[in-house]
Assembly symmetry: C2
Homo-oligomer: 336 residues x 2
DNA sequence: TTGTATGCGTTATCAG
DNA sequence: CTGATAACGCATACAA
């Protein structure tokens, strides 16, 4: 076992005081170039690393960020979280932060966990997702001045905290435009029920406004269903049964789209065109056209915003929260 | 902002010494029942939480475990990691540990990260996955006496470190038995190339031995391909082209199985039966029979083994490493 | 059983 | 620019 290498070890080795080493690390501008290089060389030579625990004790900051990881509700969504997680870890890493995971069954439990994590580990910030109007979690955190970002808009008042989101309406708009360009004129939409939240509205809106902009009437061409394959199939059957049925469908999720695809047993050129949302592995697997969210970028921006908020804290004043809305990208495959 | 609640605050509130509070927390048996309850009540009342940073400084233990999260190579595998991750987080939580994430491009980078994490955060242990024969990571960790478990066997000498794994051969055996029971006699196997590692061998073995046990000859009925949909389709076409072709296929992954499925355009009773492996969302989505790994249990056992190793460290002697091999479960759907 | 003293590695303050 | 000193919150040996 190698001896523990502390800041004193380095100081001795570089023949300076302990404090100078600390300065080299934390306030390089205070130290003469020559000295700094010597110290840095010693740091390298000894393989010294600052003890986060000791630093944290002194500064009250842990350089730790936290993210909730849910039980897998809808398996099909797994990969979204997956890619997001990787992006977060990587971005946090380059900024000198680490990501910690926690679980919670519901919002109340999550808030209790905030308290725990803050008390025990002095976490520097949180990344939240699946936010909704009047989210109790964001209110709790804001009230205590805990830094956080959300992946998802606070639909009520979009400006009050930092967030990053993907423009769902722009996504369904792209999908709809693509179908229009392919010659479709009767384009339906399968989404989630009206009262299912703002994301549902958002995605439907992009489709509806695009049809309108082309002088087409979306009335009667959309149906809302809970998310799921069977639900998608059912919804598609309903839409195909109306007079002058749609020749193409835009869907709010890959699950719905997958179901829709199986509702049509025609093959060849006359086949129903279907576009999904999220570009999950399922879509990739079966060659389904889908709207892809730029998750790595979302993650990167989340970290940026959070770090920015963190680094400015010493000023005393909280900076103006920033918001970033990212466009998704249509991945065209064979289904539409 | 509420005042910082330290062990002294609690001591005052409970009218005992600071030390007594510490004892209540760390060595309850040293404290009289009555006193202990009073202290615990104060802890509750004040919402006190021990500072991990301070504790860590004293004890050298962080109550932090680390896991690598890769870039998504094969999207279809995403959900496996996902469920595993959730299981780990949850199990670690109940044991009083937290999970930290890190990324690394390759084994060398991962080892550098070990060093970093150990030096800066004094991590208590690591959970590794995708281990292989002669894994440099496990050797490095073992050499430094760093506690770790792996999800996956060290195929060379199975007994030298704690691990949890899923019995792949048992999985393909179940799949093959299921097909035999359904009346199939010509059952093929699509796996990975011979030199693709031990997992590939393992999964193929289960299939082959089951056919043998039924007096059937597996010769010429299997093909190895890199993982992928297109590869699966190609492999299936090859197998269907031989004289007396298979009527059913067991596959080493859902990707391969998905491809295999699309290689057969027959419908109805005569259709090629296909069974996948991993029970990914894709399988669930399209109703494909697949072998499911008990990921939550794997995660739980990993944490158990790790904690066990951690808690015994004070003894001085390293306990005998334990190994756990878990059986997978066949999820029967419509494809086979 | 309880209290007292000390140190873990770092950073902030302040004097040189 | 550099060096001494205190303090962060907790746990441990030791004495009472």
């Amino acid at each position: 076992m190698a001896e523990k290498i502390t800041i004193s070890t380095v100081a001795e080795h570089a023949r300076v005081s302990r404090q100078t080493v600390s300065n080299v690390l934390n306030s390089p501008h205070l130290v003469r170039e020559e000295t700094r290089e010597r110290v840095l060389a010693s740091v390298q030579a000894l393989g010294y690393r600052v003890s986060q625990a000791a630093r944290q004790m002194r500064t009250g900051r842990s350089r730790l960020l936290a993210l909730r990881i849910d039980a897998v509700r809808d398996g099909i969504h797994g990969s979204v979280l997956d890619r997001f997680l990787h992006g977060l870890t990587e971005s946090a890493d380059v900024a000198g932060y680490r990501l910690m995971l926690y679980t919670a069954a519901d919002a109340a439990a999550e808030i209790a966990t905030f308290d725990d994590l803050l008390g025990a580990y002095e976490l520097d910030g949180f990344v939240l997702d699946s936010t909704h109007r009047g989210d109790a979690r964001t209110a709790w955190l804001a009230e205590r001045d805990v830094p956080f970002v959300t992946f998802g808009r606070p639909w009520g008042e979009p400006g009050w905290h930092p967030w990053v989101d993907v423009d769902g309406a722009a996504g369904t708009e792209q999908a709809t435009r693509h179908l229009l360009a392919a010659g479709h004129r009767r384009i339906g939409f399968i989404g989630w029920p009206e009262d299912d939240g703002e994301v549902a509205d958002d995605r439907r809106t992009g489709w509806a406004r695009t049809l309108h902009a082309s002088g087409l009437d979306p009335t009667g061409l959309h149906v809302g269903m809970p998310d799921g394959i069977a639900e998608g199939e059912h919804a598609a059957r309903d839409l195909l049964a109306i007079p002058d049925p749609p020749t193409a469908l835009v869907c709010a999720s890959d699950s719905l789209a997958l179901g829709a695809l199986s509702a049509d047993d025609r093959t060849g050129p006359g086949r129903l065109a279907v576009i999904g949302f999220d570009d999950t592995p399922v879509a990739q697997a079966i060659g389904m056209t889908s709207v892809s969210q730029p998750l790595a970028e979302v993650a990167g921006r989340c970290i940026d915003l959070l770090i920015h908020r963190l680094d400015r804290t010493p000023d005393g004043k909280v900076p103006q929260p920033e918001q970033i809305l990212l466009p998704p990208r249509l991945v065209v495959r064979s289904s539409g």
